[in-house]
């Protein structure tokens, strides 16, 4: 449990990453009295612990310290800045509304935003829980906190009444990541798909593949509780890495499950560099490979580029997501049985002062999805 100091009245508590691979610190920040035009002050109901948070904690991405982690959150609006009266979808917005938001803000004016239409690679992109130094006012830039201040320009989405917070956080940034990835590498109806990894991104990629009409989806991963979830999400077959610890054996099994030629589409949702080397061998010739899990810089792997030529592959990367992907994610969660399935991912709840324990369950793959409830279980 994080050390508790005596809090001044109104101060806002947050779990803060202050040094790579060190325990988070529980810090307090001054209460926010007035907010600027277009801003929103949100009381955090639930914040997901994303696998990327582990990468960040390990220092695998260049970010400022200290930082309040947490880039997938749901909360209730406490205060709305001048001019902010509608959400991204043009629904009216009022204090008390339950909302989520796109984790990053782009400039809309740079080379990538304007000319190349790659806004996820915006030169000035900043993301909650990642890019905002907690030492600088207004401090509250991540979801591992009692409150967060949403900057002007944030794409805020009011959550429909029937959609549970657990569904939104269970899907988390994994679902929008998968939606963006599968926009870049579409799965067509009738395609045979292999998914490497049965964590949140893998399950989300499985859901979207199913939604696209894939004929068969083979999920590779573990541990068993995640593979069971993969079956609920519609996996046609699962391969347990504990039972097939050898990459060559996994390739053999996966290719066999595809009918002998390899998959039309293989989606990497693991995060270890070696997964890419292994996964391209699971593609049929002329197939597509989507690199979806390599968000952190986890180093190099020996790779033979001849395989790209010989198998005539297409290998595609995808970074982050845009607000319109979150719009699609929320529609998917609201309009079908997917919301209930994703809610089942939320397996472990922690109060704010146990943020470290939460991070640890993710680091060790113990949970399907761990979450923080910074203001207690009742939100």
């Amino acid at each position: 449990m994080l050390e508790r100091r005596r809090l001044p009245r109104g101060a806002i508590r947050a779990a803060v990453l202050t040094a790579w691979e060190r325990p988070l610190e529980l810090r307090e920040y001054p209460a926010i009295e007035r907010i600027g035009p277009g801003e929103a002050l949100v009381r955090v109901e639930m914040a997901g612990i994303c696998g990327t948070d582990v990468h960040l904690w390990r220092g695998q991405l260049p970010i400022p310290l200290p930082v309040i982690l947490g880039h997938e959150s749901v909360g209730a609006i406490e205060q709305l800045g001048a001019g902010l009266d509608h959400d991204w979808r043009k629904n009216p917005l009022s204090p008390g509304d339950r909302v989520t938001w796109a984790s990053s803000i782009v400039c809309g004016e740079c080379f990538y935003c304007r000319l190349k239409r790659q806004p996820t690679r915006c030169l000035k992109r900043r993301a909650y829980g990642i890019s905002y130094c907690a030492d600088e006012p207004p401090h509250l830039g991540g979801g591992y906190a009692e409150k967060i201040l949403l900057r002007a320009g944030t794409a805020i989405f009011r959550i429909p009444a029937g959609l549970a917070t657990e569904s939104v956080i269970g899907a988390g940034c994994a679902l929008v990541t998968a939606i963006h990835g599968l926009e870049r590498v579409p799965v067509g109806w009738g395609d045979v798909v292999v998914i490497q990894g049965a964590g949140p991104v893998g399950l989300a990629a499985l859901a979207v593949s199913r939604q696209c009409g894939a004929a068969r989806v083979i999920a590779i991963g573990g541990p068993p509780h995640r593979l069971e979830l993969a079956r609920k999400f519609g996996a046609s077959a699962v391969i347990d890495i504990a039972q097939a610890p050898d990459p060559a054996e996994r390739i053999r099994l996966a290719v066999q499950e595809t009918g002998g030629y390899g998959a039309d589409v293989v989606i990497e949702c693991v995060g270890h560099p070696a997964a890419v080397r292994e996964g391209v061998e699971m593609c049929r010739d002329g197939g597509r490979y989507l690199v979806l899990g390599q968000y952190g810089n986890a180093g190099e792997v020996l790779f033979n580029p001849h395989v790209i030529t010989r198998k005539q592959l297409q290998i595609t990367g995808s970074w982050g997501f845009e607000p319109r992907h979150l719009d699609r994610a929320l529609s998917l969660l609201a309009g079908s049985g997917w919301g209930e399935l994703f809610a089942q991912e939320v397996s472990d709840r922690f109060p704010l002062d146990q943020a470290d324990a939460a991070l640890e369950t993710v680091r060790e793959w113990r949970s399907a999805k761990a979450v923080l409830t910074p203001n207690g279980d009742r939100g």
Copy 2:
């Protein structure tokens, strides 16, 4: 010079690869009296020495031995089998006609031909100069020979009168390879392109990029005589690897030439695995990388897949070509100044019994393009 034995009357001489990395042997095969339906017997006028021939000679691809190399050739029809009276374009075909042909034949019925429309990955694909064991009748399956027997189903193209043999062989399989590659990774008008390599494939990729309306094309390679040719082919800038031997320096120079962000499209035409690792760094974020040179299995390289995610890249391989690409190549060569430019690549001519010397000039990058004239310079 290969050892000459006394030839029986009518015997057909060929330069044969009998063991990896050993000198070719000049062998004789029996004269062919009668040919089957749909076949064509062709007297070889000129055969290009392709960089792939060096890969084959080194044993970097699984092929049968002995083999008559030579998969890019021009010759004159000597005999036409029953039913063969038109070329692939439906032009009438007669003995004496100067022709070239697609180097491979596909089955049209397998998983890749029928269902996945990836005929270059046909499960039964066989290629002249590569797949036919010279010990098996009818023996004559490659261009390094006085004659070649074209199997039924070969896509034969009559060469228009105004198009020089040097243009066709100068373009060689490099041009069709580039055409196929750029079909899979289109260059749009206004794109900034970097080409790694200034050999035949690099020059061909340069020509096609120009044809597609690229705004700038930066060629990286050497030696100087090839870079000079690259300028003639329309390179906006060239980077000499001898003057920039450090990969990091080349990346810096190439990115600088693109305007600071990297190229929209980078095309690898080198063949060394390390080129891929280097080239992806020359792409702008969201850019496309075409692996065009890794035909031989030249081993592994350390590679960080995080770059695919972080730069949101698309990396695409391309294998071989289809007859329709050869159709386009011949149209390009015939209909513009490109024919003359490609003819300039032909820098070194060798008789059949100096096939080894020819292969060596390619192995050592001494020539722009070396060719054999198996029946003498007059064809």
Copy 3:
């Protein structure tokens, strides 16, 4: 009932179109003793009456007379020609096997087959039930007959044991038409789709749209029994043209059902020229319109091309299908609940001598799907 003449022993009966808009004639053709290499003689179990058959009967397409109609059929193999021992999917083929087949054969060599990869527009394409004059041997070129002779080169598909003949004929050429059409105009997951027409093509387009993950599919048509079927096929909403006989009213209703902006994709499956004029108004700006029902030349309609510019539309046509689309159709029918649903379309069965009555039920939209059982209900 067609007039019965006394039949010689072994003669094969067929229902023949001899003049536009005149009753079919029951004619006899000589028994077939020996068949050529690659051919197959098939005893017809069931032949679907397609809407196109009505267009043909009316003379809206240029075909030879007399002709045995019937281009969507299932039958049992009686005799196999030399060399024909596998189906298109490489399954072994034996007498007695239940099969269906692609209705057309292409040349594989013409401008459209080779260069433009538009085999459905092959210059020498011939289709069963459409292109073969019944006066010329071997006469048996359509499904409205006791037997049909499949020419060499026909793409034959053995029907899996668990897949009912009614499923295959219920889906008929409508399903492959829809699969090809939606390949040209993909429906993405989350798309809102409007389908004009609730006949076999409309229902098939509905099934494929659902398979692709459409968020909403609105079906417009009638009569009520077809709209009920549309609901079973997954329509989110139906609009009955009998209750909304005014095009402007239908446009208003359809746009309203899409959420106010129009559909991402509108699919025309009606066949009346006026449907196109009406349907483009149901598209959102920047939407896609698939013309799938205009197989017959049913004349002109007043059309304002300004709408294409102003709404920034994409309007796409699709003709026929390829064998690979039939492969996908059979996989879809076999591997899910779709087979059972399509079987429900088969509403009316007629013996061969009532082919005219069968055609009439289709002409008058009385049936969901009428079929012939030329050898009786037991096949």
Copy 4:
């Protein structure tokens, strides 16, 4: 010549459309002393008379009256509002700079901007010279005036020193229209293209087709001075509509010029509804048809939708353009010989008080391109 009234000191003159098909009026508007944040006051050097201006004058599009026409203009910055110190490309901006600008501003927030990424169909899009009622302050919303006030959010482009104003206005909105259109319907290298119309849009489509590497471009139009310009722009062949007044004859000639099958891409740049009916017959089967000229609502034409199915066509519309298309246009004009060619289109110059005469030369197709110089020929 428009009637001149006595002007108060500092008043700004503009040619105003006050009623459909009536002469423009020369009106005066009060001088602008202070401008708001992000705005720019520009002294108009040259304003192009676009064919759309004729449609507007005829009342074929729903616009407010009175309106100051002119949506393709070049001018010098007189005053810059607070915060506006860079152009769209991030070049610094100062008073005196010669600039042009995108004619429309979009909201960035509506259904089309956000969700469907069709900003040219923005629900709140407003365009200079089209959407701004001249009665409402700040009045100056079109190029047919001595000055124009650019609203905050306008995409302004500083014109490079070496690029002549005549090049920019000669290209006008025709070039950006063509660039957008050919983005939606790409011309590939080697494609055969037919262009209907040899006015500014037709010439621009010709230039872009050439830039994309089209193998042949056939231009249909008139009068002879425009066809001569078409040849200079790279037309492989021209068809003079005066010599081929019969649509069937034009179709025959155009198809013949394509080699007998029709063009891969046909681009309509005429504006008469009948052109669409004619042009689709010039497409090869499986070809693409780009509707680029139907900006005004010029009524209906009899059309047979069966042709879309039978020829398996793709017909695409394109509306307006985005700032990034203007960026590409200016790069094209600056970086090649195209600037000089487009400058040659400017055939007739008129002072502001002869705006009516200018409009008339366009209406009657007498000029290649007429322009206004509202502050005199010296700008």
